[in-house]
């Protein structure tokens, strides 16, 4: 288990990103947060990880993915990641405002590991990040990297 919890947050809203950052801090979770603001950057980042010579340390423990992104949207990004044999092992949590049935269904079909609606009240964010860490960092085992 890595000592720190590396989260890749793909979120176009700066305030939302700040809220999550604050929630992580207030939950006193030892973490590393990488925030990317659009789908293209995120895809580039993720594909770059698979390149030879890159450090496995940059590989996130968890991707928090917003669906509503400018350019390449969250759903498209998700599909690309999950159809890539190298990247598909990275757990992706869809974190979005939408609770539309179509979005939920489509996300799971595309290979999302879970789907969470953004909490309405800030205090619930703290509970959320704690839950995420407990599950994805302390409980679940990561897939070993194929080298």
């Amino acid at each position: 288990m890595h000592p720190e919890f590396h989260i890749l947050l793909i979120e176009d809203s700066e305030t939302d990103a700040k809220i999550i950052q604050r929630a992580l801090k207030e939950a006193k979770i030892e973490h590393r947060l990488t925030v990317l603001r659009n789908g293209h950057d995120a895809l580039e980042y993720l594909v770059g990880l698979g390149q030879a010579g890159t450090s496995p340390k940059n590989e996130p423990d968890l991707v928090l993915l917003d669906l509503n992104l400018p350019g390449l949207d969250g759903m498209q990004l998700l599909a690309r990641v999950k159809s890539d044999p190298q990247l598909c092992i990275i757990p992706v949590v869809v974190l979005t405002t939408s609770r539309r049935d179509e979005d939920i269904l489509q996300s799971y079909r595309a290979g999302a590991n879970t789907y969470i609606q953004k909490p309405a009240e800030y205090p619930r964010y703290r509970d959320l990040v704690r839950t995420l860490r407990r599950y994805w960092h302390e409980t679940a085992l990561r897939a070993p990297r194929d080298r």
Binding site: T15, S98, A120, Y122, Y125
Partner: protein, 676 residues
Amino acid sequence: MPQAGPREPRSSTHRTQSVGELLAGVALGLLSAAVAARFLPGTPVWVWALAVTIAACLMLIVSSVGGRRAEPPDFRAYLPRLTRRVTALAQDPGTPLEEPELPEFTELLEALEMLRRKLASAGRPRPEEARLTRSGVYEAAIPLVDPGTADLTSSGDFGTLDMVNRLDPADLRWLESSKAEQQFLGWPITELRQKRFLDIVHPDDRNLAWEQLQAALIKGEAHGLVYRIKTAGGESKAIEMNVGVRYASDMTVTHLRCHVTDVTAKVRAGRELRRRTRELTLVNQQLRQTNRELQELKDRYSDLYQNAPVMYFSLDEGGYLLECNNTMLRTLGYRRNELIGRPYSILLPESRKPFFATYFAEFLKTGYVEVESRWNKANGELIDVWLTATAVVGPDGKLRHSRSVAQDVTARRALEAELKEKNERLARANVELSSKNKELDEFTYVVSHDLQEPLRTLIAFSDFLVKDCGDQIDAQGKEHVQHLVDASRRMRALISDLLTLSRAGRVTAEFGPVNLGEVIDLVKADLAELIRSKAAEIRVAEPLPKLWGDRDRIVQLFGNLVANGLKYNQQVEPLVEIGAMPGDSASWATLFVHDNGIGIDREFHSKIFQIFRRLHPREQYEGTGAGLAICQKIVQAHNGQIWVESEAGLGATFYVKLPRQPVETPRLRTEALNAP
């Protein structure tokens, strides 16, 4: 007449007696004459002569006997008896004569017997009477002439091949018979002489034969007499006789000369002919009956063909009309001679003619065709027809004619077209509507989400502001921030309700049976916290009916109604009662949710179902005012109804009418119309 008395000895008064006897003889003669006169009016002179002779004979006999005999019999005593007998004879010529007690009277009695026979014959006694004679059956009362004295030579040659005989006129006994007849009958003449003709005649023909032969005796001849007889060999034969009566020179009948012909074959042929004729008559009757039935059948089928509700016609192999029924003529307005013998294509408008060549070729090849076409009516109108034709093929495998049926489907086509157009319009409207609905849904979602996102930020950052910069903000500033947060929360609640409302009218799940008891249990579980905090009671009036609908929405509906009953309630022991109204139909149930809360003033009854319509200040009662609007949308989605009965301060009762079984929708009816 003197009475018969005891015999008296002969006296000296013999002479006187002789005179008396003579007188008696004359009296007897007169009596005989009287008898003859009675039975034979217009009697020939010879009868009178006979009667006088008898009397004279009697007198002579009496006197001679009286002269010869030493002990003469007592004639005077016998005379009265004789007289009585003659009287009896006179009354009934059939009365048999007794054997004479005195041989002297034999001759007299024989003469009387001749008279009797003559009388009997002249009176044409019935055969039964003849039978009463002492000679036995079939004895004829005809003056007996010794056959031996008859003229045989005048009766023809008995050696001839013809069947000829002579019969005794008295009893019809054979006197002579030709060889041919003897052979035919099977008896030699010696035996035939012992027989009477009637013996061999069929019992049923005997009376006729008797009568005819008696008639012949009187008339002198008879022809074409046909009788059935039985021969010696037991064979049944039929003979035809031509009879002639032969007389002696004194005009007495000597015999009947009969010429006999075997007509057995002819009679049998005749009988056979009659039998055949009867059979033929019967067959003829049956044929006539069958013919009548056939005619009726023909009429019925003809009517069926001519006036069937479809058009029948037939074409020959060249496509010419051979026949068509009256329905076709009526429908198209043609006369028969305008169609029969003409090419079928005259019915077709120009645009259709090329198709005919194609499908007629197909028909000739496959023997069947089914096609939609258009026909010209006589008045130039066009009708749509639906045609089927099957081939009627002869034993040589060649097409004899088509058996074709045509139906005028113009009205149906028009209706179909109209219906189709309506359906298309409806479908277009539906598509538009559903796309609009979808757009609206999308809009609501997007708006809700996009609105929620800044609110979340607003709430979160207000929180951060107080936390991070709390020491820089005074109490007044903190209160302002709290107002911001509260407003944001209310805004979020409104958005949430708006979302719920937009979903409420949209029934997502398939309708199915809904157990209302289970629904209420779920509602109670959802509202457990509220019920507990209010120390309220939820009372259910059993039994609750089963409903038909979207379970989740019905849970939402009752959840809202019960929550309202609890929320707008200031009783120490708030009570909400749920139950079904009595007298429900099988299709619909009316349910009530009654509370002992604050009630609703009548003037607001129509407004409470409007979205975000609040009757009370927010500070007093929580809520956005969307609850009842959501309820109404859910009920409408079930084709039901919702209404309220309430007075301010007296609690409220909400009524909900919901289906218990699938409700037929207009869409379903349209489908039924389109079904084949």
